[in-house]
């Protein structure tokens, strides 16, 4: 077994605006099962950060416990990382975000880490609109403990040992919509063409961006009867493709009218939705919820950007926190002296 990637790279790798190649965003070699969907998500995050020309040292990766939460080791090897307690990544992310609002925060969680042990923290993260990208690598089972059904396993889905799941699965995308998330997307690890631009858009979004990614467990949930296998997901897939164009770049592709909608983010970058249904609007929360329900009833798996509020107000703005990171503030700012104290006191009289 190979424990390290060879040092050689393609001599003609393209470079991004920072002069980095995609390999500069690599992490250690994965120790997950060969063919795990999570590795594809890792590659999509790597590619997204490369394409968006984000400085690796300006990114922080946060995770909890589980197969999914191991993955930050396998991408962005030159970025910051915090592997927290099971289900407690949201509180670490909240603290980090208010302490240093200038970093890009990418949280990686799983269906267990988010929908079971971490559910309590997860909904508060949404409620507070912490400025981060939160990706759930969702395989509907506990792969690390030999494949028991998780809280997101679909009703009737067969486990590897043949038992049908008797409970309705939690739909994390619907939950995030209900709870008021400002960016909700859903995707499939085997569809990088959609997942990469969605991650780029999520990173550009100011506020809490949630992406639920079906990521097949190749060892415990990739059999006939599993609703989250590669083939079942592909069979049911109803994907709404999208493109992400950062503000710096000019738009090169031309789309036919009626087949594309454009959504502009706060920083001027644009998300293009292709082949979107005529009546589909990314700013209609109710419609998004209805679409999810409808596709479920039709035994379809709807993926794409489901909802976006481009003008959302994140936690730092809501709490009116200092505009600079704590580590940037010196003695003068933190301890402004008795004259300022006096003036505050005067203001309260």
């Amino acid at each position: 077994m190979s424990y390290a990637k060879p040092n050689f790279r393609h001599p003609r790798l393209p470079k991004n605006a920072l002069g980095y190649t995609v390999s500069d965003y690599d992490g250690a070699i994965s120790t997950l099962c060969a063919g795990c969907g999570h590795d594809s998500i890792s590659a999509a995050i790597r590619n997204a950060c490369f394409l968006s020309s984000i400085q690796p040292h300006r990114i922080a990766k946060l995770s909890g416990i589980g197969c999914s939460s191991k993955t930050p080791t396998y991408f962005l090897g030159k970025s910051h990382g915090f592997n927290s307690v099971h289900g407690r990544m949201p509180s670490v992310a909240t603290g980090a975000s208010v302490a240093n609002r200038d970093l890009t925060y990418i949280g990686i969680s799983g269906d267990g880490d988010t929908a079971s042990i971490g559910m309590g923290q997860f909904v508060h993260l949404i409620r507070r609109n912490v400025n981060m990208t939160y990706i759930v690598a969702n395989n509907g089972c506990y792969g690390l403990t030999k494949g028991q059904d998780s809280a997101t396993a679909d009703l009737g889905s067969l486990s590897k040992y043949g038992a049908a799941n008797q409970f309705e699965g939690i739909d994390l995308a619907s939950l995030a919509l209900l709870q008021g998330a400002s960016f909700v997307g859903r995707s499939f690890s085997g569809d990088k063409e959609q997942l990469e631009p969605m991650i780029r858009a999520a990173i550009a979004h100011k506020g809490f961006a949630f992406i639920d990614v079906v990521s097949p467990c190749v060892t415990f949930a990739n059999h006939v009867g599993s609703t989250k296998s590669y083939s079942a997901t592909r069979t049911q897939l109803d994907a709404m493709p999208l493109d992400f164009v950062p503000m710096r770049e000019e738009i090169r592709t031309q789309f036919d009218a009626g087949t594309s909608q454009a959504v502009t983010l706060h920083d001027g970058s644009v998300i293009h939705l292709h082949k979107a249904r005529d009546d589909y609007r990314t700013d209609d929360r109710m419609a998004a919820l209805a679409s999810l329900q409808e596709s479920k009833e039709n035994a379809k798996f709807l993926t794409g950007l489901l909802y976006l509020d481009p003008n959302s107000q994140d936690l730092n703005q809501t709490l009116n926190l200092a505009s600079r990171p704590l580590n940037d503030l010196g003695k003068v700012e933190l301890c402004p002296g008795s004259r300022v104290l006096n003036s505050i006191n005067e203001g309260l009289r």
């Binding site: 077994m1 190979s2 390290a4 990637k5 060879p6 040092n7 050689f8 790279r9 393609h10 001599p11 003609r12 790798l13 393209p14 995609v22 390999s23 070699i29 994965s30 099962c33 060969a34 063919g35 795990c36 969907g37 590795d39 594809s40 890792s42 590659a43 690890s189 085997g190 990088k192 097949p216 190749v218 990739n222 590669y230 083939s231 592909r234």
Partner: protein, 597 residues
Amino acid sequence: MKQTDVANPEYFHKVVDCQYACPAHTPVPAYIRLIAQKRYTDAYLINWESNVFPGVLGRTCDRPCEPACRRGRVEEEPVAICRLKRVAADHKDDVAKHLPKAGPPNGKKIALVGAGPASLTVARDLAPLGYELHIYDAQAKGGGFMRSQIPSFRLPETVLDEEIGYVLDMGVTTFFDTYVDSMAALLNKGYDAIFVGSGAPRGRDLPKLPGRKEADANIHIGINWLANVAFEHTKEIGKRVIVLGGGNTAMDCCRTSRRLGGEDVKVIVRSPFADMKASPWEKEDALHEGIPILDNHVPREFVVEKGKLVGMTFDKVAAVYHDDGRRELVSTGADPEFVPCDDVLIAIGQENAFPWIEKDTGIRFTGWGTPIINDDETFQSTRKEVFFGGDSAFGPSNIITAVAHGHKAAVSIDLYCQGKDPAVRPPPYVNLVSQKMGIHEWSYDSIPTVDEREIVPLEDLKKALNDRKVEVELGFDLDAAFVEAERCLNCDAQTVFTDVNCIECDACSDICPTNCITFIANAPEEELRQNILVPAENMEQDLYVSGTLPTGRVMVKDEDVCLHCGLCAERCPTAAWDMQMFFYNVTKATPNLVDVR
């Protein structure tokens, strides 16, 4: 693009760049692995089967394999393939017991004209089949140009004698000191077939240059002079020597001159330094021995005073390259330059010459003086029982090309003697075996090392220049050989893709360190080359295209900079990728000559 047909052995053969570039298609990675395993005898035997003269070639080969080496495309320098070959030859045990013997007589008699590498290869390939082989050569010993042209400081006589001996010991009848002066007479001797491997023996001269006749005593044709040195007819040369020419013969002439009393030896060449025909390492070796190379100098005149050569004058030129690739040497207008000297060696090329082949034999020749040959597979001449090979077939080339010709000519002769059509070629020997040892383990060192190319130690310069028989290159020691052998990327460990097993999880594409693998909509080759993850600009390297996968896409792999590290197959959950060792041995008259497991 059409699905790649990997059942055609030429596809994977081409992926093994070194082997594909080698005229004799020596299985290079296979023997390099054996060197890393300290199995020097086996490494030698694989070489011997393929190229007959591993010890000679490990010192003197033109190395077409090294510029082709994949390592040179992902790193600075290719693997030192040639020097590793020498390691196998230098460190092997006694191999005689492993070599084939002459087969029981089959009643057919073959004449071989010239005892150079081409004829010796034909003899080696035919002897186990029971042919009676008569080899003729004008020299006192076998070897041809390997003996007369390559100086001992590059190729010790003991190495040459040993490897020629292995061939002649297979019951070959030799007629040395015998110059064949009539093809007609040879044809009348009742041979079933005749192979002509007499080389390109005529060195070019400058007959029209002023002063050529008057200074004749001190002007020598390079190849004749080297032969005279080799056979010890010539033992010294003047203190100041000019060598004309920029090929490997010129390099051998100048370095030999340094050892025969030449103190001020210069190579003077018409073309720019970079365009010289000599191998880069041979130019380096000459410079290392204090021999300046003056480029862009066109000979104008031999200057003679009182009936004796005193020097030469040259016109200075500059190379102008035209759009159509043509090069023109244009005078700079500077005054001619005088270079004093005592002797001049002319090493400006050589030509084919067949004064001994009569016109009425039915053997016809091209305007270039080379025989008209059926094609470069059969080597059959316009007279059916006469075959050509080596330099005598297409003009001057090198040893490994002569060996390659020999293999093909031997197959043709064998087919011809059985009354079969030489144009219908038997297939090569090919094998493809999975290297999977465990869940994620391969039976070869799959992850490439990062060591840089090892430097070969040289003999002390003073000692080397004192004696023309002291070998200059000392060869790798075994530690260096191991490090160098481990640099090999094992390109013969093929990435074999079985599309029906693929679940399109992208794991291979994500892990590939050189981004070779893309899952993409099919398109014509030109478009595919642009659309994949990193555009495939190296047109000499193929794209490996799968059949259509369930999502309608295809797998496209650019072979260009694949490291053969096996990570695609390691990360594949369904073994759609597998690393399979590819072994390819060219078609030979005797298919399997040695037994190496």
